[in-house]
């Protein structure tokens, strides 16, 4: 951050800037996603790359096709479409047919972002809109989790990935349940170390908790996002599920399992922190994080689906304008803030 040498500064406040532009922020997040993408490739092989390419292609195609119709022109250069595509891809199962992944990308940008007025105007996280649409449209494909191939068979592409457009995927012989699914339906807890190291089945980006955590800490230190949101989400999940676990006498999963399993880390660090769809003030960030955390635990333990991070974040996205209203910082010297 080197301040330019101004001879005569002719502009309105603010005068001190951090030099952060939208493309730069997007680049930072894409770089922050890099290790997670690499981990996905390590565990799931070429299929991971193909799925990520398909979602990104869909997202960029929607941005190009619909973006030009917007009054402010296309925002293709700021990289937000690619980021949406990547994040969406990381939430999908590894064996998903590529045409579905591509439709997910199209819907994420074409339905989740552009109709609201483009980047900065969208109410919901576009990547999660894309995933919610896929989950509602193709519930079967979105809940068949192929197990890890491992690095030895990197070039093995899941046959279900290559299903023809609009056609069903061949059932995969290597399907296996996610840790949350095993907990919900078979009451079998996965070891915390496996959850951290990614030695489980699950969506592309969610399996390896350690990589996500490290990336998150680095990005928080670089102030790419507000650290309060993920910290508050994780603490709330720990506290609420810990309390339920302590009172439930073995009927409920341990808080550490809740923390490491499913898409919680991925969602808390890469999706809930989206600056467009999360509250602006620090106080709002705490409320937002607590809301997501409580909803995640409620949906996971008592909902119909094993995983609830997506819906928890989407619901709190919907509440964000309200949170922003009630958590507005009070200007110095003014009376009580008008809520």
């Amino acid at each position: 951050m080197t301040p330019r040498d101004p001879h005569l500064l002719l502009q309105a406040a603010p005068f001190l800037r951090r030099g952060i532009t939208t493309p730069r922020l997007m680049t930072e997040v894409v770089i922050g996603l890099g290790p997670v993408v690499l981990a996905a490739c390590y565990y799931f092989g070429l299929s991971a790359l193909l799925v990520l390419a398909a979602t990104s292609a869909g997202a960029v195609a929607a941005e190009v096709a619909l973006g030009s119709a917007r009054p402010r022109g296309a925002s293709i250069r700021d990289g937000s479409a690619i980021l949406t595509g990547l994040v969406l891809g990381l939430t999908l199962p590894p064996g998903i047919p590529l045409w579905m992944a591509c439709i997910g990308g199209l819907v994420a940008v074409g339905l989740g972002k552009l109709p609201f007025g483009g980047l900065g105007q969208n109410l919901f996280n576009p990547a999660l809109i894309g995933r919610a649409f896929l989950q509602a449209a193709f519930p079967g494909a979105l809940t068949s989790w192929t197990s890890q191939a491992g690095p030895s068979s990197f070039f093995h592409v899941h046959p279900s990935s290559l299903a023809l457009p609009f056609m069903q995927a061949a059932p995969d012989a290597l399907a296996s349940a996610t840790p949350l699914g095993m907990m919900k339906f078979e009451h079998h807890a996965t070891a915390f170390s496996d959850l951290l190291l990614g030695n489980t089945s699950g969506s592309l980006g969610e399996t390896c908790g350690l990589v996500i955590l490290i990336c998150g800490i680095v990005m928080a230190i670089r102030r790419v996002f507000d650290w309060r949101i993920p910290v508050c989400i994780l603490l709330t999940v720990l506290a609420v599920s810990g309390a339920i676990w302590a009172f439930g006498q073995g009927r409920y999963p341990s808080p550490w399992f809740m923390l490491g399993s499913g898409g919680l880390l991925l969602g808390a660090i890469y999706m809930a922190t989206d600056p467009v769809t999360s509250p602006m003030s620090p106080r709002g960030a705490w409320i937002f994080g607590a809301g997501v955390g409580v909803l995640v635990v409620l949906i996971r333990l008592w909902g119909g689906l094993p995983e609830g991070v997506m819906y928890a974040i989407l619901l709190m996205n919907a509440a964000t304008p309200l949170i922003d209203r009630v958590s507005q910082p009070r200007p110095l010297g003014r009376g009580r803030a008008v809520a």
Binding site: A69, F133, A136, A137, F138, G140, A141, F166, Q168
Partner: protein, 212 residues
């Protein structure tokens, strides 16, 4: 409108406006309840469209005939009674001819009575114009409604079940988009169609602006 429009020209204009320029669903955004609720298959959309068309034309004709006899103060209730008469006819006809579709549409047939397209046409057009014009106007609006329902129903059935009018299009391995035959699919398709219309309107406005 030219200075002395011929009777036929007037009829054609009144008929054509409902189909496209003032399409009741895509432009006036009226009659949303049946539009969203019964367009999950082509058969339902056709039955609903035909029933509404019949009720609309019939009641417009009758209201226009009686327009000088109906007291202003109770005109709305009179329209409703006339409309309800035709709805009852349509309801019984559908039940006799296509019982399966009638069962699927359920209460939505009876709800044609309160369809605001129909009441709107009585109040805005039939009550002020002679019977022939009223029929032309009602037929145009009814056709526009049918076309809109068919567009939505067709897209939703093709994507949601992989078939058109029950005929399978993609073979047994088609992966249905479950969401399309559920209520959210109706909202998505209607939103997309409205977006398309808004976009075309913008383009036309831009072109007209460039010409002027």
């Amino acid at each position: 409108m030219s200075a002395a429009p011929t009777q036929q020209g007037r009829l054609a204009t009144e008929f054509a406006k409902g189909v496209w320029k003032e399409n009741p669903v895509f432009v006036q955004v009226l009659g949303m309840c049946p539009t969203l609720a019964v367009t999950n298959s082509v058969a339902n959309a056709i039955a609903m469209g035909v029933a509404t068309f019949f009720v609309l034309v019939g009641s417009s004709f009758l209201v226009s005939l009686l327009r000088k006899l109906i007291p202003r103060e109770i005109r709305i209730s009179t329209y409703i009674i006339i409309i309800a008469t035709f709805v009852t006819l349509a309801d019984s006809a559908l039940e006799a001819l296509v019982p399966a579709v009638h069962h699927e549409l359920g209460a939505f047939i009876a709800l044609i009575v309160v369809n605001c397209i129909i009441l709107g046409r009585q109040e805005a057009f039939a009550a002020k114009n002679p019977p022939l014009l009223a029929i032309a106007d009602a037929a145009g609006m009814g056709l526009g409604f049918c076309i809109a329902l068919l567009c939505l129903g067709g897209t939703r059935e093709i994507l949601g079940s992989g078939s058109f009018l029950g005929v399978s299009l993609f073979g047994p391995h088609f992966e249905p988009w479950v969401i399309m035959i559920l209520p959210p699919g109706g909202f998505f398709m209607l939103g997309t169609a409205l977006m398309l219309f808004a976009w075309m309107k913008q383009r036309r406005a831009a072109r007209d602006g460039a010409l002027a």
